[in-house]
């Protein structure tokens, strides 16, 4: 087996790991914020459900790029460059505490690497617009409107009921709704890495075309995403759980239920939407649906910028990485070493102001504390 194949497999698993910790927040941020689940319990639950999810679904993606690229032009080197671009962007947005779509980062990286390796003709820009850009705008709006209506009705219906019982009831409901988001995530996202590894093995001639992923690939991808999830991207959890708005249990339940519904319905109807964008939109909607709740819409602007930049930024890094790796084994090693150095530097920067299970629910002074006008 070529060295590059081995390198791609390891890099793919590293990407899967960042995918996991980037997306823990989607399922668990509101449950952690409302205290429905203790932080450590939440990430452990989410990790286990992601692992189970990896084994549940066998529908591995038939193509790596979902039609965004000319698949015949994709080589292991292109995949390697694409993965490096995706990992670097995932780490940068994690450092900034911004949720962004891991799949869009992967597609961006692949687009950049393919462009350099095979020219712009190998990139289907029309498909990029209709499969990435338009859904990216619509996903948060759809989820936000659903969560807004759900939250508004939840408060209307329970307005005269005993508040402590209502709070406790929704708290219990949140555990179930958050678990469903995690499971849906595991069945979707672990598949992507399995698909990447399997198709790389096919390209290298180690597997027959059309093969199902070998068992070790399923186990490795499941463990990587579950491990990443358990590590918990606490910075992003804090952004979604505490910085957008002060979340109460009915809002958390409404946001998670809306996210689950939109994710499941959209993937069933063949219009898959990004989990990250759906969940973020739902939290804004849940914030807007409760009277007197303060929503920091400026954060929506920051997230929007991160989402717009995800694809081109990952593409640039992917293009550079692919271009250097294309030169041979030495180039590949150089890219791997530089990639590790960047990851190490970002980790070191994150230690300057660490966010972990203990302070995940504390909003930093820099972001002004919302006047928590709770009607509880």
């Amino acid at each position: 087996m070529d060295v590059i194949v081995l390198v791609v497999i390891i890099t793919a698993l590293a990407f899967d790991f960042t995918n996991g910790f980037h997306d823990t927040a989607n399922a668990m941020a509101t449950s952690i914020a409302t205290g429905a689940l203790k932080p450590k319990v939440a990430v452990a639950l989410s990790g286990v459900l992601n692992l189970i999810g990896a084994f549940l679904s066998v529908a591995v993606a038939e193509t790596i790029s979902s039609g965004l690229l000319e698949d015949t032009k994709i080589t292991p080197v292109v995949i390697f460059g694409g993965l490096i671009g995706a990992i670097v962007w995932n780490l940068v947005t994690w450092l900034l505490g911004l949720p962004s779509s891991s799949s869009h980062a992967l597609f961006g990286g692949l687009i950049g690497a393919t462009w350099v390796a095979a020219g712009a003709d190998a990139v289907h820009f029309g498909t990029v617009v209709s499969k990435i850009l338009v859904p990216a705008v619509l996903a948060p709006i759809v989820a936000g409107v659903v969560a807004l209506a759900g939250t508004y009705l939840a408060y209307r219906i329970t307005s005269r009921a005993h508040r402590a019982t209502v709070g406790a009831g929704f708290k219990t409901g949140q555990v179930v709704s958050a678990s469903l988001v995690s499971l849906a995530h595991g069945t979707n996202d672990a598949q992507k890495t399995m698909g990447v590894i399997t198709l790389t093995l096919v390209t290298a001639g180690a597997l027959a075309p059309g093969s199902a992923p070998p068992f070790w690939v399923i186990v490795a991808a499941g463990l990587a995403i579950a491990g990443g999830t358990y590590t918990g991207g606490w910075r992003i959890i804090r952004t979604l759980g505490k910085r957008i708005t002060e979340i109460e249990t009915p809002q958390g339940f409404a946001a998670e239920t809306s996210s689950t519904a939109v994710i499941l319905v959209s993937s069933q109807l063949g219009f898959p939407l990004s989990t990250t964008q759906v969940c973020s939109g739902a939290i804004f909607g849940a914030g807007a649906g409760r009277q007197l709740a303060q929503v920091r819409w400026s954060l929506a602007g920051q997230m929007g910028i991160a989402w717009v930049l995800t694809l081109p930024a990952a593409a640039i890094v992917g293009a550079l990485a692919g271009w250097v790796a294309e030169t041979g084994t030495v180039g590949t090693v150089v890219v791997a070493v530089v990639g590790l150095a960047i990851a190490g530097a970002i980790y070191a920067l994150s230690r300057g102001e660490p966010v972990d299970a203990h302070n995940v629910n504390e909003v930093p002074v820099a972001a002004p504390q919302a006047a928590a006008v709770s009607n509880a």
């Binding site: 759809v142 659903v146 019982t165 409404a254």
Partner: protein, 79 residues
């Protein structure tokens, strides 16, 4: 460059997810309210307050409805 957006599918996504999510949230909210009726402040009254008779069956039905939707959701995830 050909940009094709399946607006029909998108509309379906919106209406089906709106219906199912808001449906579950409303059911759950009614169930929780019914539960709260049963638990409402026993200290306010000297006699034991158990709430109206309809409270328990309503709450049970609501939560049962939610559970069914969750099971269907699980089926969609697993199948």
């Amino acid at each position: 460059m050909s940009v094709t957006i399946d607006w029909g599918a998108l509309g379906m996504v919106f209406f089906v997810s709106f219906g199912s999510a808001v449906g579950v949230i409303v059911l759950f909210a009614v169930g929780v309210s019914a539960l709260a009726e049963r638990n409402c402040a026993p200290s306010q009254a000297s006699q034991k307050v158990t709430g109206p008779r309809w409270a328990r069956p309503v709450a049970t039905l609501c939560f049962l409805g939610c559970a069914l939707v969750v099971v269907y959701g699980l089926y969609l995830i697993i199948k």
